[in-house]
Symmetry: C2
Subunit: 452 residues, 2 copies
């Protein structure tokens, strides 16, 4: 069947899912932290639901752990646990390797080893997929196995499969969203309670919404990994998270959220990628989002992804972006999909296999309105001077106000909303103004999102 074979080749997958008659579907699990334990619990609770849908029992055959004796939230037979990766990866009875250990290494090596011996792989690992997705998919293609990663972006919110399947007929021009629940919780609390970032972070840590080391969340690295995967799926380009325009929320002050509210905006850590004139721009940054827009309403630990399509119009997917149960929901969907032999034919996979389909631009070169909070000397005509100097660098302003600073009678705060300009121009203007003494301090610069 030539037509069939061509379809399979394009999808990158040719190996059908074949099991011995009557045998269970065997899962080899790499990692049994919070996510792994959640998956085992969910698989256990859903036995009766899954068996008829998959066509055979779904069984966890072996679990790679670091410490056999560590107490865990869910009791599994001691015989399933192993500290030797080869017990999982080289077990001929394991059909699907599910990787939930997290981190770049050795997860990458284990995934590649599983592919090498012909096992399908389901992973929740955003770092590995974002940084090595191209290589992983190429190896999977070569070995005729499937790799799925729905759980790596936006947790329990279906987004990978909808992009690849439900929206496959669409050209997507933009995808943006809130893909980190920790920072969204912090920003929501800063806005609602007037907290400083550090105070809201400490609260999030007490409530278990933020990890002891919050750097990846707060600094935007987590969101950048997820955006990198979305970019690959939508535009066929792999922009590594580390090379992506990235600004965390740690520079935000309570004062910025007050200004936002006064001006009719919410502040959200946006992960955004769009294609303009054949060039893909992507970045993670705290953004001023118009208060009336749907994405501004997304509060707390929720995630939301907004997609602009040519046929279906704008779409918004909202739900829980993290946590063991939502992640288990996504992992099991992928496991079932692999078990049922579903083929996903994707631009992303073509992009990964056959080269990049679009050019990658610098986010700083994509025009937008900007919010600027500056400290300037308190002298006559200060607003006029700031606006004039910005204008000298091609940055026009649509609004400016000043406020006296409580601790100073020689300095004032100036807030400016610019017209559309490149961040690069704004930064040039500000650094020239600092050099000239026209600006004493740059409080913050935030991109303003367009309303949809």
């Amino acid at each position: 069947m030539l037509a069939e074979r061509v379809a399979a080749d394009e999808a990158g997958y040719t190996r059908p899912f074949v099991r011995d008659p009557g045998r269970a579907l065997n899962i080899g699990l790499l990692g049994m932290g919070v996510v792994g334990t959640g998956l085992i619990q969910a698989l256990h609770a859903k036995t009766a639901l899954l068996q008829p849908r998959v066509g055979c029992p779904v069984r966890v055959k072996s679990v790679l752990v670091r410490d056999l004796d560590k107490p865990r939230g869910f009791q599994v037979a001691r015989g399933l646990l192993t500290t030797r990766p080869e017990d999982v990866l080289n077990d001929p009875e394991v059909d699907i390797v599910v990787e939930v250990m997290g981190g770049e290494h050795p997860a990458l090596e284990y995934i590649l080893a599983a592919i090498e011996v012909g096992k399908h792989v389901v992973t929740a690992n955003k770092e590995v997929v974002a940084r090595h997705g191209r290589e992983i998919l190429a190896r999977a293609h070569h070995h005729g196995v499937q790799v799925r990663f729905e759980a790596s972006v936006a947790g329990g919110v279906p987004i990978v499969a909808p992009l690849l399947r439900d929206l496959a007929a669409n050209e997507i021009t933009s995808i943006r969203g809130i893909v980190n629940g920790t920072t969204n919780y912090i920003l929501s609390r800063m806005a609602q309670q007037g907290l400083e970032c550090g105070e809201a972070l400490a609260e999030a840590q007490r409530l278990g919404y933020a990890e002891a080391d919050p750097a990846k969340d707060v600094g935007g690295m987590d969101a950048a990994c997820k955006l990198s995967i979305l970019c690959a799926l939508v535009f066929g380009v792999w922009t590594k998270d580390l090379e992506m325009h990235r600004q965390g929320i740690n520079g935000l002050a309570r004062r910025d959220l007050e200004c936002a509210r006064e001006l009719g905006y919410a502040v959200k850590l946006m992960a955004s990628a769009k294609k303009v004139g054949g060039v893909v721009y992507s970045g993670v940054y705290p953004a001023f989002v118009p208060e009336g827009s749907a994405i501004a309403q997304v509060d707390g630990v929720l995630n939301a992804v907004e997609v602009e399509t040519d046929l279906a119009g704008p779409l918004l997917f909202t739900g829980q972006g993290a946590g063991p149960s939502p992640t288990a929901s996504a992992l099991i969907a992928d496991i079932m999909d692999v078990a049922l032999g579903t083929k996903l034919s994707t631009k992303a996979m073509r992009g990964a296999l056959h080269g990049e389909a679009a050019k990658v631009g610098r986010m700083a070169d994509l025009e937008a309105e900007h919010y600027l909070r500056l400290v300037v000397a308190d002298r006559p005509q200060r607003l006029t001077e700031v606006r004039r100097r910005l204008s000298d660098h091609g940055v026009e302003s649509s609004f400016a106000m000043f406020r006296e600073l409580p601790q100073s009678d020689s300095k004032v705060e100036v807030v400016v909303m610019t017209r559309r300009a490149k961040l690069a121009s704004v930064q040039q203007a500000l650094s020239a103004m600092q050099k000239a003494g026209a600006v004493l301090e740059v409080g913050n610069v935030c991109r303003v999102e367009e309303a949809r």
Copy 2:
């Protein structure tokens, strides 16, 4: 392969998608109205995108129309058009029959005929699927072909496939949403502009958002068909739209929307189904939705579907629920899915094939808070009397207010918010009160949705 066969049987489909090598994927189209024309245009515009994803060219082979000479929005070769259904249904080269003629008959007969001769079917027809889904799926199962209907619910918003695939590991306890854009537009305009229902409808008709005969939209029949399909997918029960609890928006007055706003609610035509104690309750009705909730923000012609799941938590899908392009997006996703041989194993299909999985209850027996707008005689203690008489029937009230009516000095308007009570009890109370002369007129009764 026993395991493989069991899976396929459960999925209801055993026939692989097989085409002659090198041949195109041939579509036989039933109907070339707005939706059919939109699909042909989209397939034409997306040739380069689809071919590599499907693995062969996708071609419209023949189109059933009523009138060969009718001018159409998109030019197709005259030779493709036919007025004889058998030219499409009995053409051995047609792989997939796409039904976009709408209406119950003869669409049902054509779909069944296509299945009978072994063709896969993709349809956008909510009436046919809602009323005959069980039979259609059973016949498809028998003949080993696929039937897909993503476009029949919420247009361009992916919801059928996400329920069947992405959320397959979840128990769903509730699904509700706004699935009729016409009425949502009307309600938005009534709320924003203070229009009466008829005025907003006339405006919607002028703008092309409502049909010349708006009865199915305004009366809630369209939404009931979509809800019926969702109910089958989620709970495995086929509640026919005509047997479903259904209240349209035609009874709503501008005054009801004013009251809603004063009390902190938006009014939306909700399609809602939930499972409580093993019993499924479903209905379409104008609801008071708390203003802060996500679904209250969904304005204009947008659709939104909210799903409560046990693992993934609450999820919200928002987008364009109608129009030729969004519908084409959903139809093409289904066509590609069928072409790639994707199997969907679903509760719904099992429910349809193997009997109902849950009991069906009457929506009027499911407790909720209610909004009541009544006209009563203007006499002392009128609020106390209304509340006492409601209470006599087991309906307690949490709030009541009265207002003088501009045209009368002998009657006043009373607005009551009840505590949780069955609609059946509310109706009994009101009819007893009318009989006793304690209520002169029932302006409206609306269910209050719980916030999420």
